[in-house]
């Protein structure tokens, strides 16, 4: 038991510092992905001239492996666009870009799942197309896709382990550093893996609870 104490418990400050970085990166990436995904989706569905561009971006973000995208954003973008200028930024940006592609498709499915009658009911009481979108289609879509959005957060957390490769000091990097210092990987890596699994489990349990709640309360099936 002493190994656990020496290698994990006594290092808890370092590990928690890493965990906080992980959470920070994931939250920024998540927010970016929701906004970016919504924009991509709306452009794809409603802005005819930019549609091909939106589709190309969505497909590229979705079909490229996150690790490849991460390296690309971290090492190629600075030369290409002069930005991002830190690996931290590159980390959340790459995670956010990929998820924005997935969320764009999630939003689209949600919008398409709103029955035409709900829109017509809005028109029949004299609402304008913008009001119908803003007050009926969008909120209904957000409700139906909320569980999928939460689910996307678990994908971000899982992928975030890779930002350690570009030296962002997240939980994974701190754990690997400790392994390098002590040359005793068993306890540190097991504890770290357990922490990640627990974290992701809790988030996806929250997503499931949300989906159940929505089904009971609003009669909505998750999209």
């Amino acid at each position: 038991m002493s190994n656990w104490e020496r290698l994990v418990w006594n290092q808890r400050e370092i590990l928690i510092k890493g965990l906080l970085v992980t959470i920070e990166v994931c939250l920024i990436a998540f927010a970016f992905a929701i906004v970016g995904g919504l924009i991509l989706c709306l452009v794809r569905m409603y802005v005819r001239p930019l549609r091909p561009l939106a589709i190309a971006l969505i497909e590229f973000f979705r079909a490229t492996p996150i690790f490849v995208q991460l390296m690309w954003v971290a090492y190629v973008w600075p030369e290409l666009f002069g930005w991002p200028n830190t690996f931290f930024t590159a980390g959340w940006l790459a995670l956010g870009l990929q998820s924005s592609g997935y969320l764009a498709e999630t939003f689209r499915a949600g919008i398409e799942a709103v029955p035409a009658g709900h829109r017509e009911a809005g028109y029949s009481v004299g609402m304008s197309p913008f009001q119908v979108f803003r007050r009926i289609v969008l909120p209904e879509t957000l409700l139906t896709v909320a569980p999928s959005i939460v689910n996307q957060f678990t994908v971000i957390v899982k992928s975030s382990t890779l930002i350690s490769v570009i030296t962002v000091p997240d939980l994974m990097l701190q754990a690997l550093k400790l392994v390098h210092v002590w040359f005793e990987p068993i306890e540190i890596l097991t504890a770290t893996a357990a922490a990640y699994i627990l974290f992701v489990f809790l988030v996806s349990a929250a997503g499931k609870a949300l989906a159940d709640f929505h089904r009971r309360r609003f009669g909505l099936a998750a999209a």
């Binding site: 492996p65 490849v68 666009f81 890596l189 097991t190």
Partner: protein, 233 residues
């Protein structure tokens, strides 16, 4: 900026190293097929445990699914590569080692078995019980019912979902480079170390992966849709 852009899309360097890079891509495929086999086999077993009547089996199946579905694949690869041999070594009292390829296949195979188990289970549970009764009424054996009635429907039902998971698994094979499995990303980083030019190489790698995944995934989806549409018109 425009110079940089030109360099980024200039495939000359990628072309120069095409042989070693394509060998890397082939290695991605090799890892993919190996871990997909593991994932399908283990996933089917876990799914059968989850639909079992006895609760201890169901419980083990659920544990398996929750454990592997929620695990980041990178940490699982690292764990299998650095921790598992030590644990087994302690258990057997001897030094155990295996090549990174084995770690990659075992880790990815088990992580994705969690996803496949859920897909199998949903497929199995979607078969109406009446179909089994109909088979029994015709005098078919339980084994015949499983192979002739249940599984063909399960496979068709789970195809779209499974296609997505195969795509995810293929994308995940890119991280095996991190434990020095010589896939495309590994070869790219090796070339970058000698040439010091990440710009064209990473861009070409990204485009290559994108093209391969986009084309293969699209074809798979098209084929599976056509096949499914024959019975779910």
């Amino acid at each position: 900026m425009s110079d940089a852009l030109l360099e980024a899309i200039n495939p000359a360097m990628f072309w120069e190293y095409r042989l070693v890079l394509m060998r890397g891509l082939a290695f991605n495929a090799y890892v993919f097929f190996s871990s997909a086999s593991v994932a399908l086999a283990v996933g089917l077993m876990a799914a059968l445990l989850r639909v079992n009547r006895a609760w201890p089996f169901r419980w083990i199946g659920t544990l398996h699914v929750e454990l592997f579905r929620n695990a980041p694949d990178y940490i699982m690869i690292v764990w299998v590569h650095f921790v598992l041999p030590l644990l087994l070594g302690k258990l057997l009292g001897q030094r155990i080692e295996w090549p990174p390829f084995v770690s990659a296949v075992v880790a990815l195979g088990f992580v994705y078995s969690g996803y496949f188990a859920e897909t199998f289970r949903a497929g199995i549970q979607s078969i109406p019980l009446g179909h089994l009764d109909a088979g029994r009424a015709c005098g078919m054996s339980e084994r015949q019912i499983l192979w002739r009635i249940v599984l063909p429907q399960v496979v068709r039902r789970m195809l779209p979902e499974a296609t997505n998971q195969f795509v995810s698994l293929f994308k995940a094979t890119t991280i095996v480079s991190l434990i020095a499995v010589p896939d495309l990303m590994y070869q790219v980083s090796m070339v970058i170390q000698t040439e010091m030019r990440p710009l064209p190489l990473y861009t070409s790698a990204a485009l290559t992966y994108f093209a391969v995944i986009y084309v293969v995934a699209g074809t798979l989806r098209l084929l599976s849709e056509r096949w499914r549409n024959k019975i779910y018109a």
